[in-house]
């Protein structure tokens, strides 16, 4: 199952996108029970594309919470696709796609 959930709704020519990415967003500063630091592991880049065109991009850092929630708007219409992908500090990536309702 994808780590990303997306809801996209069009209203008056503007698509309202809400998304939640499941990620532990470990800063590298926290200590575990053994007293050692937990290695950092966080999302660095988030990109949203609609029809092959980038409509939103974000550079995250360690101040972003666990399981980041993100909402943004772009010009579009019903039936467009929205593809959101992320890349994290360990080089892992994930993406998910949905249709605008």
């Amino acid at each position: 199952m994808s780590s990303i959930r997306i809801k996209a709704k069009e209203r008056k020519g503007s698509v309202d996108v809400k998304t939640l990415m499941k990620h532990k967003m470990e800063t590298g500063l926290r200590k575990g029970k053994d007293g050692k630091k937990i290695p950092e592991h966080w999302i660095t880049d988030v990109t949203a594309e609609s029809g092959g065109k980038v409509v939103f991009a974000a550079a995250f850092n360690t101040s972003i919470s666990k399981d980041p929630y993100l909402a943004f708007k772009f010009e579009g219409k019903k039936g467009d696709t929205v593809k959101i992908s992320w890349k994290d500090s360990k080089g892992k990536t994930d993406s998910a796609e949905t249709k605008v309702k």
């Binding site: 199952m1 959930r5 809801k7 809400k18 939640l20 499941k22 929630y69």
Partner: protein, 327 residues
């Protein structure tokens, strides 16, 4: 413990009806099967008690967004301080445990029972069996326990296994640790009060001639709400009509939880920009929306703010207070 508790309500119902009909006092009446069915709505962990009907994740999505998301969040992440429903796996033994449906609940049946019995918060027991199946399925989907194609019914729902079920155990500690004293016990007269909790309870008004008004204390509700309201109005003097003055009491009780901080799309009291277009619609429409409920573009206004014990006049007065405070 858990299992034995479950059987108690049934036993009580049976004895009560037997006594009532056969008793010498001739009071009460025998519970009809319909009455018992109305009380007997609990769902057991093995799925016993689940009704017929079914609901899919896809159906649940729309229902969840309409009825649940304004508090629990679109993805179950929880708006404001409302309960979080999804996520939290692996956090229960950490400093900040997140108790969600996925991380904490032992049985899926509890989910169905709880939603059916107590949700939505503003209108409990208003969901049909099908709607409850659909919403339960969607909440399980938000927790990655079932996939998108899942359709919940008696058979499939009883088979759902919750991730944390194995870690629950029967708590067999005795209820009380102290043994009762019968011989050579301490004399209660010699007991000394070592400490009391100070500052939580207003006490000034109990003392005669203390010279302090009772509402001086924070514990006095009218004194507390007075300061809350003046904050909302940005300290501008507003002269309220009689209706609105009465409505302020209703507002404090039923409306301010959402309209003070602006939760779930509610227009904040005192926020002129948010209210101007609403006031322009006219008081009749505003009152109608407040009394009967309203689904707007920004959020939901539950009928009478979810407090069905209010009369229509109470609601109209409260609306008058909000409108006059927001002009």
């Amino acid at each position: 413990m858990f299992r034995s508790l479950k059987s108690i309500p049934l036993v009580l119902v049976i004895t009560f009806s037997a006594v009532a009909s056969a008793g010498p006092l001739g009071i009460g009446s025998t519970a009809t099967p319909e009455m018992i069915a109305g009380w007997d709505i609990d769902i057991r962990p093995d799925g016993a008690g689940l009704p017929h009907g079914e609901g899919s994740v896809a159906q649940g999505e729309g229902l969840y967004e309409a009825k649940c998301a304004s508090c629990h969040g679109l993805f179950g992440e929880g708006e404001g301080r409302w309960p979080v429903l999804a996520g939290g796996d692996g956090t229960l033994d950490t400093l900040h445990p997140e108790k969600t449906v996925g991380s904490y609940w032992p049985y899926a049946s509890t989910l169905w029972d709880y939603i059916h019995r107590a949700m939505p918060y503003t209108a409990p027991q208003s969901l049909t069996d099908e709607e409850t199946y659909a919403i339960s399925a969607y909440v399980l989907y938000l927790n990655d326990i079932v996939d998108e194609e899942f359709v919940a019914n008696r058979e499939t729902f009883a088979r759902v296994k919750m991730p944390n079920e194995e870690n629950f155990y029967v708590d067999n500690r005795p209820d009380a640790q102290n043994e009762r004293c019968f011989k050579n016990c301490a004399d209660p007269k010699t007991f000394e009060i070592v400490t009391t909790i100070n500052g939580l309870t207003p006490t000034g008004h109990f003392k005669e001639d203390s010279g302090v008004a009772a509402n001086h204390y924070e514990g006095n509700p009218s004194a507390a709400s007075e300061s809350g309201i003046s904050k909302v109005m940005n300290n501008t003097k507003i002269v309220l009509s009689d209706k609105a003055t009465v409505g302020k009491g209703v507002y404090d009780m039923a409306c301010q939880a959402c309209h003070n901080p602006g939760i779930a799309g509610a227009p904040k009291t005192g926020d002129k920009a948010a209210w101007v277009s609403r006031i322009d619609q006219g008081m009749d429409i505003l009152n109608g929306h407040a009394i009967n409920g309203y689904q707007g573009a920004d959020g939901v206004m539950p009928a009478k703010g979810g407090n069905m014990s209010l009369s229509n006049d109470d609601v109209i007065n409260a609306v008058a207070f909000m409108v006059e405070s927001s002009r």
